[in-house]
């Protein structure tokens, strides 16, 4: 559905995006992660035909974006990170404008608007002015506008930025609905736990360069390098750390905030042997668990905090 090949964008001497390669198949949902200024928005804008790449090619459904932007636009649904709302219009008028602008046939238009409003839970606000909506509702309206022409590929640039927790949860639920509908989505976000729930792929970008990309599971395994065990003892924690470090299946055990954190590099499923060893040595174990690795851990592990 989307193929990016050696995509580069330069502004004078500054390279915003550097030789980026990505691929999304139909139905994929890719979380596009990176610090501020990493080049996420620039990449999304190049895919959406708004920016011309300095070099490289973007294909959407096999069509070269630079060569045939007019052919690509009907396939894309772009949601920018900034609000692009006309405030003096009503919700249905706003959607009606974009439906007409995307050539949704006139007889179907009102039906489509009603369906989209129902999907985004804005039906009760159909006749309200856009300026009267809350920030979260405006963001949902922007997403409704993005979906109005039933695009194949959605490009969502920070859809949850600046929203309160409730509005973020609402957007997240909406995105889950889109996943069920089989949409292909490229979504950039800073709020990583939100992406973790519904992305099957991630791409991490830093200083315009792709650091890592692929399936969430395989990247987690790649980054993990072993499971992290969190252990709480009633006493003699230092002694236990020395004991754990002496084991072949454990690497780099240390105490932090009263807990022992040990990286388990032994056979998967045999972590209980560590617990057995601790008990055998007379340690009173209060708690023993394996820490889950999430997108934030991956992000922190693979990036250095630098910007382009």
């Amino acid at each position: 559905m989307l193929r990016i090949e050696n995509l580069t964008k330069q502004y004078g001497k500054l390279t915003a995006v550097n030789e980026l390669n990505l691929e999304l198949k139909a139905g994929d949902i890719m979380g596009f992660i990176g610090p501020n200024g990493a080049g996420k928005t620039t990449t999304i804008k190049m895919v959406s035909t708004l920016l011309k790449p300095t070099s490289g090619t973007v294909y959407v459904d096999g069509i070269d974006v630079s060569a045939d932007p007019e052919l690509v636009r009907p396939l894309l649904g772009y949601m920018p990170d900034s609000f692009g709302l006309y405030e003096d219009v009503k919700v249905w008028e706003y959607l009606d404008f974009f439906a007409a602008a995307y050539r949704v046939p006139r007889p179907k238009r009102m039906g489509t608007i009603d369906d989209i409003l129902e999907l985004t839970d804005l039906t009760v606000k159909k006749d309200s002015f856009v300026s009267d909506l809350s920030r979260g509702m405006q963001q949902r309206l922007l997403l409704a506008k993005t979906l109005i022409h039933d695009p194949k590929l959605l490009l969502l640039d920070e859809p949850a930025s600046g929203l309160d927790p409730r509005a973020r949860i609402e957007i997240k639920e909406l995105l889950k609905e889109l996943r069920k509908m089989g949409k292909t989505i490229l979504i950039s976000s800073h709020i990583l736990p939100e992406l973790a729930d519904f992305c099957n792929k991630i791409a991490v970008i830093e200083q315009g360069k792709l650091v890592v990309s692929g399936d969430v599971e395989s990247i987690m395994n790649q980054c993990r390098g072993g499971a992290v065990l969190q252990i709480k003892l009633l006493e003699r924690s230092e002694e236990a750390v020395d004991m754990l470090n002496a084991l072949h299946a454990v690497r780099g055990a240390k105490i932090d905030d009263g807990y022992i954190f040990a990286t388990y590099i032994g056979n998967p499923g045999e972590e209980y042997l560590i617990l057995e060893a601790l008990v055998r040595n007379g340690h009173k174990v209060q708690s023993f668990c394996e820490l889950e690795m999430d997108l934030e851990d991956i992000f922190l592990k693979v990036t250095r905090g630098a910007v382009a």
Partner: protein, 356 residues
């Protein structure tokens, strides 16, 4: 199916979403009502003042009543022109820049509406708003028919000049809107341009006129020949540069439609060049100079709606040749400028659409 049914169904099929959206946004709130009320109020006050001053000094006879009607109409027409020159650039200068300010430009740029249609629909919305003002002024203007002295045809002609002036200033405002990133700068540039049209052109024209007629009195047309020749050369160069720098790279990348536009642009410059080169021919020059001289036509009036309307209404007969020249040339200039500015706006908008 009758022809009317077919035309009606075809008209119903026309989709102008941006025009409708713009009209919705522009007509909501208290602002459009306030502008219209002020517009009509200013015209009413001018009519009353003219009536009061002129009425107190003239006798009640049929001819003096006609003169009074004509002078009221002249003042009202000039006032309308002045207000149109002030209001229309402000309407159109925000068309594109406001989209960029409210971060809606990207969304608009990604729609399937062609660039030419976006510019035309936005321009249409601004001009429709100006037309509303002109329509609102009709009841005030119609008081001149109580006094006489102005024929309905003259009223229609002045309204045509008003409308075309609105088109000229509106398209220039649109061009500024496409060129500048914020509304404040584009409005300032649009007003500067309108000032150039209204004040700058007559000043330049007056300077040329004085030099030109001084030369003529000495029987020397060399200055005129050089001027028109230079203008022709300039037109040809500009047409070439515009074609090479703005239109042809787009034509290469985009579609056949842009190639057609580029071709039209070239034709436009070439026709201008041929016309001015013809004028620079000494025989033609002599004929033109003689006409100007003996008809006592003031050169800068050719393209200035203010002076054209004033001259037209102050001449004793509509069929006065010089008055007809003024009106015809003003209308032609406004149409040419409107076409040219709209075309440049489309080119600029299209380039903007691809290089956010």
């Amino acid at each position: 199916m009758s022809i009317f049914t077919r035309v009606w169904s075809r008209m119903r099929a026309i989709d102008l979403p941006l025009l409708i959206q713009e009209m919705r946004i522009r007509q909501r709130g208290i602002r459009p009502f306030t502008v219209m009320a002020l517009y009509v109020a200013v015209l009413s006050v001018i009519a009353l003042i003219t009536l009061y001053i002129s009425g107190s000094t003239t006798n009640i006879s049929q001819s003096s009543m006609s003169d009074l009607g004509r002078s009221i109409f002249t003042y009202l027409s000039i006032a309308q022109l002045a207000m149109i020159s002030l209001i229309v650039p402000a309407y159109s200068a925000s068309s594109v820049s406001a989209e960029r300010e409210r971060h809606a430009f990207e969304l608009l740029a990604l729609t399937l509406i062609p660039s030419a249609s976006i510019v035309t629909q936005k321009l249409g919305a601004a001009l429709l708003q100006a037309m509303l003002l002109l329509v609102a002024s009709i009841p005030v203007i119609s008081i001149v028919f109580f006094f006489g002295g102005v024929s309905p045809f003259e009223v229609i002609l002045v309204y045509v000049v008003l409308l075309l002036s609105a088109v000229m200033y509106g398209t220039f405002g649109m061009l500024c809107s496409c060129c500048f990133g914020n509304t404040r700068s584009s409005t300032f540039a649009a007003y500067l341009g309108v000032m150039g049209f209204v004040v700058g052109l007559p000043i330049i024209g007056s300077i040329l006129q004085s030099i030109f007629f001084t030369s003529r009195s000495r029987g020397d047309n060399s200055f005129f020949v050089t001027m028109t020749g230079g203008f022709a050369f300039g037109c040809a160069v500009i047409a070439l540069v515009v074609y090479a720098c703005i239109v042809s790279p787009i034509a290469k990348r985009v579609t056949e439609r842009w190639k057609v536009r580029a071709f039209r642009m070239g034709i436009f410059g070439a026709v201008f060049a041929v016309v001015t080169l013809t004028l620079s021919n000494s025989l033609v020059t002599d004929a033109v100079v003689s006409t100007l001289y003996y008809q006592n036509i003031f050169l800068p009036l050719f393209v200035n709606p203010f002076m054209a309307v004033t001259t037209f209404l102050s001449s004793s007969s509509f069929y006065s040749r010089s008055a007809s020249y003024y009106i015809a040339s003003t209308i032609a200039f406004a149409i040419t400028c409107g076409y040219f500015f709209r075309h440049l706006s489309i080119v600029k908008f299209h380039a903007l659409r691809r290089s956010q």
